[in-house]
Amino acid sequence: MSKKLFQVIKPGLMTTFQDLGRTGYQEYGVVVAGAMDDFSLQIANLLVGNQRNLAGLEVTMMGPVLKVLEDAVIAITGGNLSPRVNGQPAPMWKSFAVKEGQLIEFGQPLEGIRSYISVAGGFDLPAVMGSNSTYLKAKIGGLNGRALEKEDILYGNENVQAVTGRSLHYDEIPKYHKEVAVRVVLGPHQDAFADEAIKTFLSSNYEITPQSDRMGYRLKGPELTHKTTADIISEAIPLGGIQVPANGQPIILMADRQTTGGYTRIATVISTDIPLLAQAAPGAHIRFKEVGMDEAQELYFKKQKIVSVLEKIIL
């Protein structure tokens, strides 16, 4: 049974439905999309008693104003965009009840730039190719393939086991900084770069420019020079791939990246650190640190464990 949950009073800068992405169709050119900060989305779901991969609202910088149409249990995670319910500060990283008629609002971005709103039972949306993620360029997924607009009604699923007051342990709540240390696995095209370029890459500060969005983060910093050419024969590009076109300025490929690309890539950001990047705003500084495969996968397990421990408590 579907029920009317929220009415959109103001849509915010860019509020879209995202789940963990539209995987399985990349070989046909279909972009993955999905939550930029997949950790925060998964936690938001688990805190309200959902499966970790359900779609939530990804709120960007300036949040929406939502009117509650029926009592519900929600959680807000990710960046702190000053959430309020009925004018009072709302908790983050903790599930709580909202009542019919209340307003969910956001204010100043205090830390991070993307919040995630989950609702117990999940939002009721049609799946496109197995996913509810909104991919704006192809106009698919989420709510009619677009961001929220004023007057939209958001539907939720009937839910029997909503839990309030469940929170993520304080130690496990990520901190978002203006200086971000990001770990990378080098390659696949490190041989296409001058030796100096690898050193420069791993020892310099790169600034996130305003030309950054869900597709990719364009960085500004010391130029990375190629031995001969910046071009390669087109191939698949992974989440977190760092491509360097001929101008020597790196671009980190994010959730809405195209499936294939023709520029050399110096390294790939490890999956554990993607959420930190997702919360970094233009103007933030990034430093890259090389890690080996064993360490990268150990970090993956550590992160997975936080999620799966919470999952076991709930499901």
Binding site: T23, G24, Y25, Q26, E27, Y28, G29, V30, V31, V128, M129, A138, I140, V184, V185, G187, P188, I233, S234, E235, A236, P238, L239, G240, G241, Q258, T259, T260, T268, V269, I270, S271, T272, M293, A296, Q297, L299, Y300, F301, Q304
Partner: protein, 240 residues
Amino acid sequence: MKLTYHPLGDTGIQLVFGQTISEETNQKIRLFAELLKAEQIEGIIEWVPAYTTLSIFYRPDKIRYQALLEQLERLYENIQGGVADAASLVYEIPTYYGGETGPDLNFVADHNGLSVDDVIRIHSSQDYLIYMMGFVPGFPYLGGMSEEIATPRRRDPRPKIAAGSVGIAGSQTGVYPLETPGGWQLIGQTPVKLYDPEREQPILLTSGHYLRFVPISKNEYDSIAEAVRLGEYKINSKRK
């Protein structure tokens, strides 16, 4: 031959099958992808074939890098030994050449000193290899077009090109799966939808197989378009 590979962060691995674009390399990649599909290795999420590489994305909590690598090396040895070569398919794309939906057909003919009929004959008498899919959902990167009909892109790209438009850009030919802006010379249109997110199988084509354009009349175009609309059209394909 030893398998060449590179990690793509902690959740991906790229296998390299060659250094240049060739049919032989592409067929190896297709065979390897078919083996992957048959093997169903636990932890692999998906893979993306391209001109010279096959990239695999996986879940390290289901399979670690080293364990995955061992499995991939085993499969690679299999294709060295020459597995039973699964035949490739040729998908037939019915195409109405010229008319309102192929406004640049005359230009392509004039540019190459050919008649319109020559252009249609040359364009539709070739099996084009689908090297990879990408750019937008369902877009096939095709190889093998005759240089006789090669034509540079338009100087003024069109703001809107209808889905199904068949075009030429330089020595490439292709089909637009969805409405996009573009600078290709448009020579015709197919009523077949290469991409339909609402369809059970949203994408019609698979890389590593072939595509052939089959000329049809305006009447045939209309009746196929109607069948497509009703969800009754099935694309023809035959073994190469």
